[in-house]
Amino acid sequence: MTAVMALEGVAFRYPGAAGEALSGVSLGVAAGEIVALAGDAGAGTSTLLLVATGLAPRLVGGTLTGTRRMPGRCGIVFSRPWTQLTGLCSTVGDEVAFGPASLGLAREPVLASAQRAMERLGITHLAMRDPAHLSGGELQRVVVASVLALEPDLLALDDPAAELDPAGADALYGLLPALAAGGTAVLVATPDLERAARVATRVVVLAGGHVVADGPAHLLEGTRVAAIARAAGCPPPYPPDVPSLLRRVGP
């Protein structure tokens, strides 16, 4: 598989920071892959998304060393959706269409991709609402739709369910396999390791700005299910989610 986005020996330092936020990171993400990025607070998962989508150092400043191959089109969803609104649109429909419209496409394809994105997120009923008057959960869906409307080759998501209730979070994570099947490369940083374990095709674990593990879902040893299995005497690798734990229980 050829990687849509590839990093080779990448280090990144924020402006004015004493140490590196990422160091020696090599990582490729191919079309159709869903890569879950796990790591404790400060591990570098959010920074990695900024680097992978080109926002660092271009917008945030700082210095990047190493080799980076960027995808054709990137989309990033932040965990705080209100930081991501354009502030220029008075309806959700316009907000979602803003991205494709700013790519200079004709009116019909712009409206079509905005409509498709709103349908995917189940927010067509919000199309005429003012984004400023939405709840956190509604806003998060709007922001995800706005990014999907760009039809990115690489979709980067930073804790995208932070504002969603469990049904909304399931719906959002449930969307990822369909996007990946359509050829999108998905990179999702999340503390919600059990949901990530269910959809990820691969897991990358970061600690202190380094990649410390890269492989199958059982690397997500920080889930509550893995902790239960460990405490109950299950030999490693620890099952990260309920279905994989049940498969390990005999006979």
Partner: protein, 270 residues
């Protein structure tokens, strides 16, 4: 602990045309741990804001101990009830983590002796001198919680205290809240995280469309698959495991499930 009882009597509240609470009644005895659940927009945050006098009910009454909350200002409520916002950035303002956490006890004219132990308890001692905005957002959330714990309130109301926290940080929050509950503090958590809820609370209250849709002991509700489905709630992993393997005693906490699974013959790997 006196002053720790929370009563909500037929409370209504509307944002303009939108009715957020349509007659909610709830009584929480001092020292109980309760989770407030419900989908986005159910009225959970509105209800908690009424408890701290950030909003006034359009009808009905909220009392904390013998205080009628509608007659109090938010700063007066802080003497009795500690509130942690969902977005911690809304409640941090000092120049260092330690200063921020010390602000409450100082302004309530209480001893600041509580500050250092609370910083230690939440793992904040290493960042005590850092500016609150120089620490990552999940750590800011712990700073906001520390600021409230340092005031030693009789009632704790926490809006999504574990959202965005990693496993180790969640464990610290669970530990800190269990210790407060054991000391008789009333704890009300608003949360979407049923795994966290199962670790902490004795009782679960569910709001939907501004109404009380359920109010039951946590263990009973979490094992009632039909009730959960009707409320559009999914059981936490512990309950899924407990049900699938028919574990005795309806375990809901991770430690209970692990204990029930000890002695299991594990297949080596998949």
């Amino acid at each position: 602990m006196s002053g720790g009882e929370v009563r909500v009597e037929d409370v209504r509240y509307a944002y303009g045309e939108l009715e957020a609470l349509r007659g909610v009644s709830l009584s929480i005895p001092a020292g109980e741990t309760v989770a407030l659940l419900g989908p986005n927009g159910a009225g959970k945050t509105t209800l908690t804001r009424l408890m701290v006098a950030l909003l006034r009910p359009a009808a009905g009454r909220v009392t904390v101990g013998d205080w009628d909350v509608a007659r109090k200002r938010p700063d007066e409520m802080a003497q009795r009830l500690g509130y942690v916002f969902q977005h911690a950035d809304q409640q941090l303002f000092a120049r260092s983590v330690r200063e921020d956490v010390s602000f409450g006890p100082r302004h309530l004219s209480r001893s600041e002796a509580s500050v250092a132990p609370v910083l230690e308890e939440l793992g904040l001692t290493p960042v005590a001198e850092a500016h609150p905005y120089d620490v990552p957002p999940p750590v800011r959330k712990l700073v906001a919680l520390a600021g409230v714990l340092a005031m030693e309130p009789r009632v704790l109301v926490l809006d999504e205290p574990t959202a965005g926290l990693d496993t180790q940080q969640q464990e610290r929050v669970i530990g800190a809240l269990r210790r407060r509950a054991a000391a008789g503090v009333t704890v009300l958590v608003v949360s979407h995280d049923l795994g966290f809820v199962a670790e902490l609370v004795e009782r679960v209250v569910v709001l939907r469309d501004g109404h009380l849709a359920a109010d039951r002991p946590a263990r009973e509700l979490l094992y009632d698959a039909r009730a959960l489905a009707a409320l559009e709630l999914q059981p936490p992993a512990t309950v899924e495991i407990g049900q699938a393997l028919r574990l005795p005693g309806a375990p809901i906490r991770a430690a209970e499930v692990a204990a029930a699974l000890r002695g299991t013959r594990w297949k080596r790997s998949e």
